[in-house]
């Protein structure tokens, strides 16, 4: 090898080496750039390609009544959106969408012209409309499933439940008040995607974002009673031509609200179609002059202070009594000469009540009505409650004090009124009304439970019993104003009320616009239920005793029929389970003598009897029967002929195919 060729070889080796070195450095720097400089960014881009996230429908907590009946739940509804950048034929898209979804074509076109790649067209459309939109198969138009709140009972308890907006936020009622407990953050599941786009489960990357709690709410409301109350109030509002009305049913011993309704109602599934006024829960947000329903509180204060007793006679001035510059008359221009103290409530004498209040004095009167809770919020767990209007006693003129005694010139809410009357029913102890029994999680475990809360003792037990006795006479006594509230076999204590409404256009109390009301509880010896009925501006039957008392009677009768007076209200917090019934096997039993049919102390042979006959016979003989099935009796657990005086219940099996 010559020297020249050796040199040439070295040159070639060196240049190849340099070339490789340069390439190697270039490779390293590229790797450095990819891995370290922009590594994070690229990794996230790759993840986007490899994975797909799926958002699971966030299920807002349910709302149950006290028996586990569902009052509010969540369903999935389709919403339609567009990606304007993907839409090519704008005219066709806007035309077809407007006809399918009943929307203005102009609005859709406006949305199509806007930049960006996401615009809502219609939210929560019906399944039919969504299917039609999908069938159109338009470029850039998509549907997506969104959770929607659904109220299966429609208008029932609408004011209590409230409603939820498009973005799953509570806007009214309990949905608003307990929004943070009910709402549930969307849950995300991340999938891996292979080359073909199939899904692979990636355990370590599954992410769940749960900051909302999604607890279920259990109310004190009994949907059966709520339904009874709403149907009866609806009928009364329609029959009397009233502008609206309220009704509340409560357990006076605990303050649990069993039903609460206001009219007009609305359908929370389509709340936007109703005027704002009908969405208001008038039982807590509106106040009215109570009228004569207020008198028992004055009487209770007077009895408690010992200024009067049942045997005292009050001079009722023969129907006109001058106070300051005004003359006070009796309702319906009645004339009472002299009345015993209890008769003042029985006949609802205005003058008598004014005199009792005057004996009591302004300060004590004020002390007791504030103790009964008037003038301050009851603290019920519903949003929007007001405290009514109770002016400072230093600003009362003599006539103001006088009219206030019979419930004019003081404004109260329905919830205040029933809570105060509950104190009389509950032996003088004022309870805080409440509507939420508790919160439970998805597994049915109790998260929070609300217990009855005593506010204060207002009057002594003795006074409460004496007032209850007087109020029982208002309903049960001959000629009492509450006669129409009587229920067979159950003693009712209650008071009617008719008050004039303040006419703001005239600046005085209207003689035409009235509020008719009735508050009563039963059975008066051991009050289980208290009911308030209030009708706003009834046009026909304008008196509380005529308009509101029969509604009270209808509601109460139905409650008694459903619960047999002993409102054994179950403490169910979880979902309802089917009652367990012991099924008695149908079998042929041996021939037995029939003397048990004559002998009243023996179990009869029920076979072949109808349910009605079995009930009648067993009631006559005092047998504790349990009925299984319907139709005609085919078998019984206790054999005919044995003594009826047994502790065991007698199961009777019925079959329709007998």
């Amino acid at each position: 090898m010559t020297k020249k060729s050796k040199k040439w070889l070295r040159f070639r080796v060196t240049s190849v080496l340099v070339l490789f070195l340069v390439l190697y450095i270039a490779l390293l720097s590229r790797a450095f750039q990819l891995q370290i400089v922009s590594g994070k960014e690229l990794k996230s881009l790759a993840d986007k390609q490899h994975t797909k996230s799926l958002t699971l429908c966030p299920e807002r907590g349910l709302i149950f009544d006290r028996n586990g009946e569902k009052l509010a739940m969540t369903v999935l509804a389709d919403s339609v959106y567009i990606d304007p950048s993907m839409v090519k034929k704008r005219k066709e898209v806007s035309g077809k969408l407007s006809s399918t979804l009943c929307l203005e074509e102009r609005d859709i076109r406006k949305k199509l012209l806007k930049p960006g790649n996401f615009r809502w067209i219609a939210r929560q459309v019906s399944p039919l409309q969504a299917a039609q939109v999908r069938a159109l198969d338009l470029d850039g138009v998509y549907t997506i499933q969104e959770p929607k709140r659904f109220y299966p009972h429609r208008e029932m308890a609408c004011h209590l439940l409230g409603f939820v907006g498009c973005d799953s936020a509570g806007l009214e009622g309990l949905e608003l008040k307990y929004d943070s407990s009910l709402k549930y953050a969307p849950q995300k599941v991340v999938w891996g995607r292979d080359a073909k786009g199939n899904r692979i489960y990636l355990d370590e990357r599954s992410t769940t974002l749960n900051d909302g709690r999604g607890h279920n709410l259990v109310l004190t409301v009994d949907s059966k009673i709520q339904y009874i109350v709403e149907m009866n109030l609806k009928g009364a509002v329609e029959n009397t031509g009233a502008k609206g009305g309220n009704a509340i049913v409560m357990n006076p011993k605990t303050g649990e609200i069993l039903a609460m309704t206001s009219f007009p109602r609305f359908n929370p599934n389509a709340y936007s179609q109703y005027p704002v006024a009908s969405r208001r829960n008038r039982a807590i947000t509106d106040c009215f002059d109570p009228g004569s329903v207020f008198k028992p509180f004055v009487a209770a204060a007077a009895l408690e202070e010992g200024v009067v007793s049942e045997s005292d006679v009050i001079n009722c001035e023969n129907g006109s009594y001058v106070v300051g510059d005004r003359v006070i008359h009796e309702a319906q221009m009645k004339h009472h000469e002299e009345l015993f103290f209890p008769e003042i409530l029985k006949y609802s004498s205005n003058i008598g009540t004014v005199k009792v209040a005057e004996m009591l004095g302004k300060e004590k009167f004020y002390k007791y009505i504030t103790k009964f809770g008037f003038g301050s919020k009851t603290g019920v767990n519903l949003p929007g409650e007001i405290g009514g209007i109770l002016r400072d006693p230093s600003k009362w003129r003599r006539v103001d004090f006088a009219t206030m005694a019979f419930g004019q010139g003081i404004s109260v809410t329905a919830i205040q009124l029933i809570t105060a009357m509950s104190a009389i029913a509950n032996k003088g102890v004022l309870m805080k009304p409440y509507i939420v029994k508790g919160l439970v999680n998805r597994q049915g475990e109790i998260i929070e439970q609300y217990e009855p809360e005593v506010v204060r003792r207002v009057i002594s037990e003795d006074t409460a019993e004496r007032i209850t006795a007087i109020l029982t006479d208002v309903v049960g006594g001959e000629g009492g104003t509450g006669e129409r509230a009587r229920i067979a076999n159950v003693s009712v204590a209650g008071k009617t009320g008719t008050s004039q409404k303040f006419d703001f256009s005239l600046g005085r109390y209207s003689s035409k616009k009235v509020v008719a009301s009735f508050v009563g509880f039963f059975p008066s010896e051991d009050p289980q239920v208290i009911v308030l009925v209030m009708l706003d501006e009834p046009k026909i039957k304008r008196w509380g005793g005529v308009a509101a008392a029969p509604v009270f009677k209808n509601i109460s009768e139905r409650i008694v029929s459903c619960y047999n007076r002993h409102l054994n209200l179950p403490d169910v917090v979880a979902e309802r389970h089917a009652p367990e019934l012991e099924i008695v096997q149908a079998s042929m039993s041996e021939v037995i003598p029939r003397n048990e049919d004559i002998d009243e102390s023996l179990i009869p042979d029920f076979r072949g009897m109808s349910v009605r006959e079995v009930l009648k016979v067993s009631q006559d003989r005092g047998i504790d029967v349990r009925l299984v099935g319907s139709g005609w009796a085919v078998d019984q657990k206790l054999a005919p002929g044995i003594s009826a005086e047994t502790d065991q219940p007698c199961y009777v099996l019925f079959n329709e195919g007998f």
């Binding site: 429908c57 299966p152 899904r199």
Partner: protein, 73 residues
């Protein structure tokens, strides 16, 4: 070599199972949705308003009077 094969085999199995899990989760979600839909249907069908309408109009039923109600012990 054998160890490498076993390793690959395990890996393939794991991927296969991951596909199955993904499918089952989707299935579960679908069934959950179906279940929810049925619950809504139950709640709607048991609504007292609906029951009363059927009882009154279709079955010609009415509320019992007070004396027609018999209480069992």
């Amino acid at each position: 070599m054998a160890i490498a094969l076993v390793y690959v085999w395990f890996h393939i199995q794991a991927t296969r199972i991951n596909y199955q899990i993904a499918e089952e989760i989707q299935n579960k979600n679908k069934l959950g949705e179906e279940n929810r839909r049925l619950k809504v249907e139950i709640a709607t069908l048991t609504s007292p308003q609906r029951i009363e309408t059927i009882a009154r109009i279709k079955l010609k039923m009415c509320y019992p009077k007070r004396d027609q109600v018999v209480f069992l012990k």
